[in-house]
């Protein structure tokens, strides 16, 4: 691609590049579902941090479907997935020393989570 000219920069900045992408199958989870983050340790790119893996949370909200970071990072295409905002209680993540009132919210692609038992 040729260099973007100066007079196009503002338009590109204001338009952005949303990562939203269509997925034909319906989302697996809905608000209120209990889910567990998978314990996966890929050597490549992932947006599932270690502090979440194996922990159980509740789906707070369905965000829609987006290109999958893990595949985009390696030139393997968008391969879009459903993305959920999931709430984890602080004590679930950090143990009883954490506040009983606090929580963490993180956005998880479909293949990062499973239904909790």
């Amino acid at each position: 691609m040729p260099a973007l000219p100066k007079d196009m920069v503002w338009t590109v900045v204001k338009t952005g590049m949303s990562a939203r992408a269509e997925v034909k199958t319906p989302p697996r989870f809905k608000t209120g579902d209990r889910v567990v983050a998978r314990n996966v340790n890929p050597a490549g790119h992932t947006r599932l941090p270690r502090y979440i893996r194996g922990k159980t949370g509740v789906v707070h909200r369905y965000h829609g479907s987006f290109a999958f970071a893990d595949t985009r990072a390696h030139g393997q295409g968008d391969q879009p997935q459903h993305v959920y905002s999931v709430r984890f209680e602080a004590r679930e993540l950090w143990g009883d020393a954490a506040s009983a009132h606090d929580a963490l919210y993180i956005d998880l692609w479909d293949t990062y989570i499973e239904q909790a038992k």
Binding site: A3, L4, H45, T46, P49, A73
Partner: protein, 104 residues
């Protein structure tokens, strides 16, 4: 990857240090880095995920000790080399030429 960038929950980093009235860019090279990396990514259709992963592959000590925008330089250099756009030698030669010019 289980890299140094995956910082959530780690101990030992001390207080959050804030700079009063921090400027958007601290130096001309930070400005240039912000601009060049964004434009290069656009021109070469590099996804932000690719540059993030390039940065994740920085040697851990370097990642922690270098200023933020140096991560961007590292990431861009790595991607350009991996895509065969620029070789390590070409870059080294250009750096040497520019260093010489600055000494004059």
């Amino acid at each position: 990857m289980n890299g140094i960038h995956d910082l959530g929950g780690m101990h030992g980093f001390g207080p959050v240090v804030r700079e009063e009235n921090e400027p958007v860019f601290h130096a001309e090279w930070e400005r240039r880095t912000f601009g060049v990396v964004n434009l290069a990514m656009g021109a070469m259709q590099i996804h932000v995920d690719e540059i993030r992963h390039a940065i994740e592959r920085m040697p851990p000590a370097e990642y922690l000790e270098s200023p933020y925008y140096e991560h961007w330089i590292y990431g861009l250099e790595a991607l350009l080399r991996e895509r065969g756009v620029i070789t390590r030698d070409e870059l080294a030669r250009r750096v040497a030429e520019l260093a010489k010019q600055e000494k004059k």
